[in-house]
Symmetry: none
DNA sequence: GTGGTCTAGACCACC
DNA sequence: GTGGTCTAGACCACG
């Protein structure tokens, strides 16, 4: 599983981690029942503070995506896939909506916004993360 | 000039103010040489603390968009239009880029993203601001 | 009499006016008994708000440099020359002291400061005002 | 690192703080990569409101001298030394230029100004800060 | 713990 | 009247 933390993302790191983990589950890269990396290991891998990973994992437990397995770590829950697939689009839409509503507020009309989106899509086409 | 402050925007209020003022200038709603509303007046209009407006105005001075007219107030600079028009798209693109790059990261391909954008565009078509 | 108002001087306009008037008197360009320009006229000449000139004149009256001549305007007092010549150096020294003390604070030693002063003296040698 | 705030400096406190920090960096007293004192600590040390220190630090971020280390504090950037050394002389020269141009305006010639500077240099030689 | 945001209110400088 | 500075203190986000 690959995590890409982007400091200029606008989202806090713990959100980036939890969201990407949800995306991975929705996408099938991480299956129900599997153990996720330990806090320490993931923290080292993405080079962030363990507290940050812990917070992401805590949020994922609250969302019912992860559950503790006594003494072994955290496991993807049985219904995590449903949750994550359902949430995936809404998370993304919500964020898009914020950006697009500001476009409208700045006076752009729908075709202009679509044009701008296409420009960004091209910019991010090849190496599409940052 | 209309200001819409959205507490759940993600952006701090002073940023919303300065960005919207840039958009208004880029759009021609506010012209070079005009005085902007006084700190106190705008603060009252958008129902925020004068300090918050003052910070937005200060940021706009740093960006060269406003200039002080001693004892009279703040004036839109001569080259503000250039600055704002140049910045408008980049500010919006930067925000779109964050959202779109996360879409890619979540496994969506370009057509899927475009589809999602269209859905959001429809959602925000009529009462599109917040 | 020539006035040069420099917005980037650091000093408020009314101070620039009153100080330059003192310098003019110290220098003999303006003599005891002479009437100074009216508030309106000087305001127009240097393109500032009449209130600003009025404030400068008020300060000069407080300092005993100008005195009102009923119905005619303001006149340079008899002892103005003494006052202005005495003040001239101290006003200039006080200002230099502020700049030089910051140089020391920044870690420059005396020869380095002298070198810096020489550089500024060269820069301002030809057209020496701004 | 030593900070000397002088209320009668003419410069606002936050400027005095940011300028002295730049001088400290230019001088090597503060190195790239080091964490600067926390807002709260410095505020207490120089006995000003934390907001005032925060503003100085924010200005230093805008100038690219400091960068945030999320949750840890503010760090001197890698290129801060370049920036600060380049700025140091220009900041000081700018202030000297204002004082010296006024000397010229008052009718002093170059040797007279140099003489006046020497007088000030002597006055400020021993306990030279305020 | 860190910095950032925001509010409330006082005071000053300038015009 | 204008903007600018500073203080005091609350709250939040982040690690």
């Amino acid at each position: 599983m690959l995590f890409r933390i982007d400091a200029s993302n606008g989202l806090p790191i713990y959100d980036q981690i939890s969201r990407q983990m949800k995306f991975a589950i929705a996408h099938g890269a991480l299956r129900s029942g599997e153990l996720v990396p330990s806090v320490r290991e993931l923290a080292q891998r993405v080079a962030v503070n363990p507290n940050t990973v812990a917070r992401a994992y805590r949020d994922l437990q609250i969302d019912g995506v992860l559950e503790p397995l006594r003494g072994e770590g955290l496991r993807v829950t049985a219904h995590a896939v449903d949750v994550c697939q359902r949430e995936r689009l809404s998370l993304l839409k919500e964020r898009l909506r914020g950006a697009i509503s500001e476009c409208r507020l700045s006076g752009l009309d729908t075709p202009q916004i679509r044009e701008l989106v296409d420009a960004v899509l091209q910019d991010t086409a090849v190496n599409g993360t940052s």
